[in-house]
Symmetry: C3
């Protein structure tokens, strides 16, 4: 196994719309890799979910993000896709399927208030997050 | 030529707003590079276009994304920029100009329903997509 | 110091909502690194700011982006977070905290009209941008 092979997280989401803090789990994968300096790429292989970085302190921030996205892109907005989850697809493209993180001294480089959040927009479901950590050369 | 030099796709878009599936063309460039394990960076050098990952099965998802973005950010929303394409610039920043993909065993790592889409927001035009594939070290 | 260590920009923003062109400063950091071919990752370690690529010519484009985001996600939209900056957190997740740039022949690869913009959504403040430049191997 090369140092930069793919790792994976499994998640069980509980609500239709939900932010789940995965910072500690991503950090653990970095530690297991043994890589001290590099880049960690976090990728969501789903089209009705996303990943973002946002505030890890006051949980009302996460509530506000989820609620306002629901207001901006409502579940029933006269969409053509008959599965009833077009709102989730749109949110996925707006928030994005990946984040890029710096690794320094074995730790994710994040601002004081930053955490990494898996964004569920069409749960509850079983979900995956794929992580690739690349060491500096 | 180094293994990680830049490659390019050319596109002719047909509508003002359009999603174009470029998954097969990106995969072909990866194959031509000979890189089996690595990262593929896809970058759009335009300010009224974007690139995203979303559902590749039911085409009504693509229609819903395009239509709802038009509703959210209308073409004529009392903008100051006189070229009449401020909506396209805003969509470009919201969706984003690049995606990062994992390459494993010579193939893009994508979820079952994921495809890579060039997003035209101010077409029809001739457009470019720049791709850089980096092998694992 | 390895060639791929972290560099940093400091910014003083002047308005609550503001786009600041950092293209020249990012280019200068690339030149100082001595790296000719590679990737430049630009990361914002804040949860009420972002970084994006957009038009560098007509400044009304920047005004339109800022103004329309304020209209789409107003400062006082009945949020639960009591600090009064939930709009800024939402914009941060929608625009995103990082951009990935190609470096070729010592220069950032950008389209004719593209510039790199720090996005302030809860200023005025003192802000940081972290940059990591990775040479091709």
């Amino acid at each position: 196994m090369s140092m930069s092979s793919l790792r994976e997280l499994s998640l069980l989401t509980k609500d239709r719309n939900e932010l789940i803090d995965i910072t500690v789990r991503v950090q653990k994968i970095i530690e297991e890799s043994g890589i001290k300096e590099g880049i960690a790429h976090v990728f969501v292989p789903h089209t009705t979910a996303a990943v973002t970085i946002n505030e890890n302190a006051d949980p009302t921030v996460q509530t506000d993000i989820i609620s306002y996205l629901e207001k901006l892109i409502p579940e029933n907005a006269n969409f053509r896709h008959t599965e009833g989850n077009s709102d989730a697809h749109i949110k996925s493209s707006i928030v994005g399927a990946h984040v890029t993180l710096f690794v320094a001294d074995g730790h994710i480089v994040l601002g004081t208030w930053q955490g990494i959040y898996f964004c569920e927009f069409d749960g509850p479901r079983s979900r995956r997050v794929i992580i690739k950590i690349l060491p500096d050369t």
